[in-house]
């Protein structure tokens, strides 16, 4: 009986996460506002599982330096580093931040990148790079870049809303934070790209 209840709870949590994912596509503002008041850590576990599934799938179709579980561990370390950076930045600028709210909204904001990595891995499997300068090669490149830009814009919207609801700060302060974060994040991403672990800072 107790086991059945646990199964039902787990299924309900998965359903809630999927529902939120769909709502983040159609009503990102309202959904992020709701997520910022979330308390159920089970949802984060579901997203964590999705990230692990991605790593497992990616290592099956391409060789990587690190096995899937180590890449997942690296993502967790990266997440802790982001949390510390955000906490220190807002503490330094004397802004009160709801870390729990930021934690939930930030993890949900990983959805666009997770979709990008999943889709790119499928494209890698179906249409292996490098692309050529033929008509089809150029057309696919334009499509792929447009797809990447659209997910990047969506990601930026979600990250902005994540900071907006967890710090309750104005546009200028959030934009300033994102500028500083970008200055640190870009060299860090390039460094990880050179180590063949490009996806870590984005997941």
């Amino acid at each position: 009986m107790d086991f059945n209840k646990k199964i039902i709870n787990a299924l309900a949590t998965i359903f809630v996460v999927l529902e939120r994912f769909i709502h983040l596509i159609f009503t990102p503002y309202k959904t992020m506002r709701r997520i910022s008041q979330e308390k159920s850590y089970g949802q984060l576990l579901v997203i964590g599982c999705l990230i692990y599934i991605y790593f497992y799938w990616a290592t099956k179709i391409k060789d990587f330096l690190l096995p899937s579980y180590l890449m997942f561990l690296a993502v967790l370390i990266n997440l802790i580093l982001v949390m510390i950076f955000v906490y220190l930045f807002f503490r330094f600028t004397k802004v009160k931040i709801d870390l729990k709210s930021f934690f939930f909204t930030y993890i949900y904001s990983l959805l666009p990148t997770l979709i990008w990595f999943f889709t790119s891995s499928i494209f890698y499997f179906l249409l292996p790079p490098p692309r050529t300068t033929s008509f089809l090669g150029k057309s696919f490149s334009i499509f792929f870049i447009a797809f990447s830009i659209s997910l990047l814009i969506w990601k930026m919207i979600l990250v902005y809303l994540s900071l907006r609801f967890s710090t309750k700060q104005s546009f200028y302060k959030i934009a300033f934070f994102l500028l500083i974060f970008g200055c640190v994040f870009l060299p860090y991403s390039l460094l990880l790209y050179s180590w063949q672990v490009f996806r870590i800072p984005f997941l």
């Binding site: 150029k138 490149s141 830009i149 659209s150 919207i157 790209y193």
Partner: protein, 76 residues
């Protein structure tokens, strides 16, 4: 009683953050107008914008865009 509770909860959620003020009425108006497109169904704006940007990038960068797409494909 339940309706009152739900209404209070909803109002609390709506007023979670105060409206943004960019310091100048015109800037605030532009901000509100722009963000309204991204609050509900953002992909109606984002998809045409992305294709426009990708095509513009192709016109500016030419074959480099193809290299960029390959580079991103390797990065998954």
């Amino acid at each position: 009683m339940k309706t009152e509770y739900l209404l209070k909860k909803k109002l609390k959620e709506i007023y979670l953050v105060s409206p943004n003020d960019l310091g100048h009425p015109l800037l605030t108006k532009i901000y509100k107008k722009t963000t309204s497109y991204f609050k509900v169904m953002p992909f109606l704006v984002v998809i045409p914008l992305s294709f426009g940007a990708a095509f513009l990038l192709y016109l500016v960068l030419g074959p480099f865009l193809v290299k960029l797409a390959s580079l991103l494909q390797y990065g998954f």
